[in-house]
Subunit: 255 residues, 2 copies
Amino acid sequence: MRATNPRVSRSRPDGQMIEYHLKCLRLRDRVAPEEEAAIRGMISEVVDHPAHRTIVHAGRDVRESLLLCRGWLARVKDLPSGQRQMTQLHLPGDFADLHGFTLKSLDHDLVTLTSCRIAVVPHDRLLKLTNDFPHLGRLYWTMTNIDAAIHREWMLSFGRRSAIARMAQLFCELRIRLQIVGLLNGESYDFPLTQVELGECLGLTSVHVNRTLQELRRLNLIQVEGRRVTILNLEKLKAVADFDDQHLYLLQRPR
Amino acid sequence: MRATNPRVSRSRPDGQMIEYHLKCLRLRDRVAPEEEAAIRGMISEVVDHPAHRTIVHAGRDVRESLLLCRGWLARVKDLPSGQRQMTQLHLPGDFADLHGFTLKSLDHDLVTLTSCRIAVVPHDRLLKLTNDFPHLGRLYWTMTNIDAAIHREWMLSFGRRSAIARMAQLFCELRIRLQIVGLLNGESYDFPLTQVELGECLGLTSVHVNRTLQELRRLNLIQVEGRRVTILNLEKLKAVADFDDQHLYLLQRPR
DNA sequence: CGCGGTGTTGAGACCTGTCAAGACGTGTGG
DNA sequence: CCACACGTCTTGACAGGTCTCAACACCGCG
């Protein structure tokens, strides 16, 4: 159940809401016109959330999943000690908690990093959609599996990569994911996270994030100004990260 | 495609092969008799692998998924530097690469930690199964989502838990997963990993694994003899780990 | 009997964390 | 308009957790 929030504004879905999402899907498989129509029809409403709100709480029952149309979301897990770890960043086009459809509740919070426009998809409509179009069921299953593959790549980062490699890996991954939906501008993209949040993402402290960012700048690999990242030398950045896009499954195949 | 291996022995499926698997499923949802029959029918053959073999290679096309009947498997990701990270441990009853059904190839290797008996499920049969029984499709989707939830818990471990907490978390998690399939004996269970492998699991070196194990023993939390772990003080072990079983979704619900 | 894998221990290095302080920009209320 | 609070970024000094390298004991096995 999403937290009720008086500052949430609601509106009708319009056709533009899910263009990013369709790009994500079509990168992995064909989507027939009647399937596309069904996808457009599954949205019940569109809501806007301000930045820095927890919009889904761990452990509570969910009856709908959230399709991100604008802004950034993060999945956050907490320890009793107060330590936080982000386990995924969500960009426009992402189904942020599609796994809630089968799990019925989440093991993490979902928080807005920026103000967000979100399309709400009730689970009963998702049930009908996947029954009517088994192929879409498999395609959405694929998307949650790609999500898990990204988890595995992050695990590899946390377990084996140094701070600088870990950060380079993240910037490379985000670059591709933003490129997919057309939000990469040349070699730069909006990156709205503070250094504290980036630390919560990478399993580092904000102090070390600061020093690691300086090191990436010193090596002329990236440039960070305001809330925007520019990749100055993609090949070297990939080399620092040992980056491999295999885990993103960037191939259109019948699913 | 699994690596062909001359030492693999093949045999016919027998009814006992998937009892563990059915326990895993039935913990999360009801499985109707006709569904159970369909599940039993999806196995094409049963193969035995010796220990320490890579049985599925990252990046290669897969046309079948592997249901573990006996022994332990691990998912392994490699860096060009030669560093390895295990991203999941598989116990009897686990569908080790069910995500391969939709992804069509894996982003990691699958290696045997012990000798293993494995039931092979061709993807065309899985396709028929999920078309004939959409509910089973959703249940298997659920299982891959629980797998991803375990990934997230490990990410929390890698990012925020100390070595001793990380190790305690793993022992708690394995205890529950083995209990589900009936492989927990009182408070002890077989644990076939070497300290090197445990390090590859936890993102630690084997030297530090050795010292951390000693610390857990010194605190009288666990006992390790041969290839067997006994939990001496579960409550304190959970406290050290900040353990929470929420991410295992131990609740039977309609999926 | 020798060998490789495994577990253990010690010394020291290094990466990252902790704590503290200050600069800077922004928003807000007086 | 100013004062102030607050979040963010930055820097320094130091601590500590984990790694690296090395050596050795033990053991099963060919």
